[in-house]
């Protein structure tokens, strides 16, 4: 029987206004184990971890935290870090212009009397970087390396603080499959060799079932159950059942009576160069078509150029030296600005809803109508009452959970924010809707609702293009799947032929071709 490292008992946390985020939560983490924490968005996972790490100081919550057999009262993050509890937040806390080495030792510098010993810093940093498998120079600025490697820097930083219990909040949300794989292996290695314990919050159930020893499920601020690897059913369906409180037999709504019509949008010979790296071809002679009432998926690994493709079509919002033709309803059109794209009935819902989508300091109403104000105004004067009516209509139509259209979007959960983005572009009434990662960071229930919206749009005769890094999702909702790899379309699969294996085969094949071409 392994020792219990951490026990949180009857944790209750209330926020101003009487919102009870946590209600009698109990969790037990065994030493040298990887413990996964799952639950829908807003279930209270992050709140619980913030209680543990001292972000919410002792006294602002009720309950008892025992760590290594002692009761703990953390007043600040520093208190918990002294005990070896380190949290890595979803949004990485690295300083972009500082080097890897400086970031690793930020706030924990190798110093004597306030003077930094850079030699020692460098030596220690190299050791840590080797441990986590980060093969870069310690002087490289952090903004010059990818998100996957930045995640490794965070872990190295945690190791430098003598971490015993590492908390990771959605560590793989921004990583591609390969990077995620690496990260998970690193966690397993650290558990074996360093005896590290980890708590991992994640939405990616396949990863959890792979690495976790135990899974605690939280729903509506309460612990529902804890599953143990060797004893309980550890399947994804079992976990989902615990998360949503019912069995979801079908994660994707069926595409029924879909009438696929004429070709709506055709893109030919589309090439885009990177605006940052000279002569780098990001999108390479891509051709595709989408018909009315059709949902097409664009699958591919991260960095394949899918977002770049979509944004370059959407009014040249990305890239330079864009060439190729766009044919809409049989007519060749020229799109040189976002306004042109909207005028021609093309809409794009960004993958980065907080950074590039919503105006967080404004309310739902303003965010919904932003591109369509002309429809709601007379001689440049906006009819606000009509605007409120529209916003309220979309709130009820898309089941946005909010007290009203005056709710600020920064106070909404991820799923509801995404629905506001959808509301914005559905109200703009485009013919072609490009959705970039429409369900990233959203819980299972909200995902299903968004899939239903997509179906509904297709039924109305709109063309929907879905870009997603989650293969099952692309396969589950599309009528046709394009596979993109390194800037090129390397496969087109109708619904019947599309499977995880066939998509991966397309990617592998193209990689092989490229290698052999290089060899020649």
């Amino acid at each position: 029987m392994p020792k219990v490292l951490l026990e949180m008992k009857n944790i209750v946390k209330e926020f101003a206004g009487g919102v009870r985020a946590l209600n009698q939560v109990n969790i037990q983490v065994k030493e040298k184990s990887i413990h996964a924490l799952v639950g829908e968005n807003g279930a209270g996972k992050s709140t619980l971890m913030n209680v543990l790490s001292g972000v919410y100081p002792y006294g602002t919550y009720q309950g008892r935290i025992e760590y290594s057999g002692q009761e703990c009262q953390f007043h600040t993050i520093r208190d918990s870090e002294k005990k070896g509890i380190v949290i890595i937040h979803q949004e990485l806390a690295l300083i972009p212009y500082l080097s890897i080495m400086e970031n690793i030792f930020l706030g924990n510098e190798c110093q004597e009397h306030g003077v930094v010993n850079w030699g020692k810093c460098r030596f220690e940093a190299m050791k840590l970087m080797k441990t986590v498998g980060l093969h870069e120079l310690p002087d490289t600025p952090v903004n010059k390396i990818g998100v996957g490697k930045q995640q490794l820097v965070e872990i190295a930083k945690a190791l430098s603080k003598d971490v015993k219990l590492l908390i990771l909040d959605e560590p793989t949300a921004a990583l591609n499959d390969e990077e995620s794989e690496k990260l998970l292996e690193l966690l397993l290695m650290l558990r074996e060799k360093w005896g590290m314990t980890a708590i991992m919050i994640s939405h990616k159930l396949n990863e959890i079932t792979k690495v976790a020893d135990e899974i605690t499920i939280i729903r509506d601020g309460k612990t529902i159950e804890t599953l143990t690897k060797t004893i309980d059913d550890f399947s994804e369906d079992r976990i989902i059942k615990g998360m949503v409180g019912r069995e979801i037999t079908n994660r994707y709504p069926q595409r029924l009576d879909c009438k696929i019509g004429d070709i709506c949008l055709e893109v030919k010979n589309w090439s885009v160069y990177s605006p940052y790296i000279a002569n780098k071809l990001v999108v390479d002679k891509v051709d595709f078509t989408v018909r009315r009432g059709e949902v097409i998926g664009i699958a591919g690994l991260m960095g394949a150029g899918r977002t770049e493709l979509a944004m370059s079509i959407f009014g040249q919002s990305y890239g330079t030296d864009i060439s190729g033709d766009i044919i809409k309803d049989g007519k060749k059109i020229k799109i040189s600005s976002v306004a042109d794209a909207i005028k021609n009935g093309i809409a794009y819902v960004t993958e980065d809803r907080k950074g590039q989508g919503l105006i967080l300091i404004d309310d739902i109403r303003v965010n919904t109508t932003l591109p369509s104000l002309k429809k709601l105004s007379l001689r440049g004067v906006v009819n606000e009452q009509e605007e409120v009516r529209v916003a309220e209509e979309y709130i009820s139509r898309l089941h946005i959970k909010a007290p009203g259209s005056h709710q600020f979007t920064k106070n909404l959960s991820g799923g509801n924010q995404q629905k506001v983005m959808l509301a914005r572009w559905i109200y703009a009434d485009p013919d072609v809707l490009i959705l970039d990662e429409p369900t990233r960071g959203i819980d299972v229930g909200a995902k299903y609702e968004i899939y239903c919206v997509i179906n509904e749009l297709a039924k109305q005769g709109k063309s929907v293009i879905v870009i997603s890094s989650e293969l099952p999702e692309v396969l589950g909702i599309s009528d046709r799947v394009y596979v993109m790899n390194e800037g090129r379309f390397v496969g087109e699969l109708p619904r019947q032929e599309a499977s995880q294996e066939s998509v991966m085969r397309c990617i592998m094949q193209s990689n092989k071709n490229k290698k052999s071409a290089k060899a020649v």
Binding site: V338, A339, Q356, V366, L370, P371, E386, V388
Partner: protein, 406 residues
Amino acid sequence: MSTLLKEAEGTADSMGKNTNRWEYKMLSVAINKYAMFIALVVISIFFQVLTDGVLLAPMNISKLVMQNSYLLILAIGMLPCILTGDIDLAVGSVVALVGAIAGTLIVSMGLPVGLTIVVCLAMGLLIGAWQGYWVAFVRVPAFIVTLAGMLLFRGATMVILNGNTLAPFPETYQFIAQKFLQDVPVIGAIPFSTVLIGVLVAVAGAYIEWKSHRQKMKYGIPVSSQPVLFAKIALIVFISVFSAYWLSQFKGLPIILILLAVLICVYSFICNKTIIGRHIYALGGNERATQLSGIKTKWVRFLVFVNMGLMAAVAGLVFSARLNCAAPSAGTGFELDAIAACYIGGASATGGVGTIVGAIVGGLVMGVLNNGMSILGVGIDWQQGIKGMVLLLAVAFDIYNQNKKA
């Protein structure tokens, strides 16, 4: 008696807890929203008592308005700049330059006043376009462009004036800044013309308030209860009629106040009700998101600066008319007063938050402080320090409130 009380409680209960909570929330929102306005009232009363009633005497109020008019005009232009997350440091120099051009055209060259005003306003637009071009299209940070502008236009002023002060301006030129309603030929002849205008404003204000209430009801937007509406209308009527009466005790309505009121109404309308206004706020809130919504953010930013140039030109005309001279050092430090007015009035330094009325209230807070302290004989040294503290505390209060909400 007790039954009556119980009945009242009953109705309150039957309205449900939701409305209660909503009203409470609205109240706290209202306190946040009107905090600076309340502060203005408190400061005014404070000085009213200390100065034995001099501060709010009809003559002093006229003086206060006329003294601060150009700063308030600058604040009206500055607010959109701050909304888009930019800033304009050149306005003080533009005020001087426009004054210098007006002085040269009228005093030295003897051109007619009307033509001069047109030329000066055109000059303002041109300066705005110049700065807007660099900020919006070349993407040089506004701080740097306008810092350069501050030096550039001050230099131009000195070149034009050759170090001299030009004076005096003809009577017609001074009209806008120094005259009162009773000096206007036809309207001035009507007895009680100022009070009459006050009544007209009251009627218009009450009508607009009532109409917006009805509109909201029609669309099912939650509105304040009827007594609150009537109280609001009564307050509007009282304030407009009373202030008109009060001003008529001196020389009547200052002409500049009419111009100021028109500008406030027009720019509030633009900011709140029009598409371009919405685009300005959206741009300040999240530039990339606004761009990806099909809005030509560069042009929005450009127009904001063009407008700032125009407002600076108006302020320049008013200021030179008020001083009745064009001096090389005119308008020094005005940019900072205008920026401070916006921030005290609740504008956010990162953009996207702020109102025209807020900026005006912020400007008046500073104006009343200046005026009150001057009457009390507080030295300019202390005045500066106290104004600095007020700016700091006002913004700190704002940030504290926002953190509390989140």
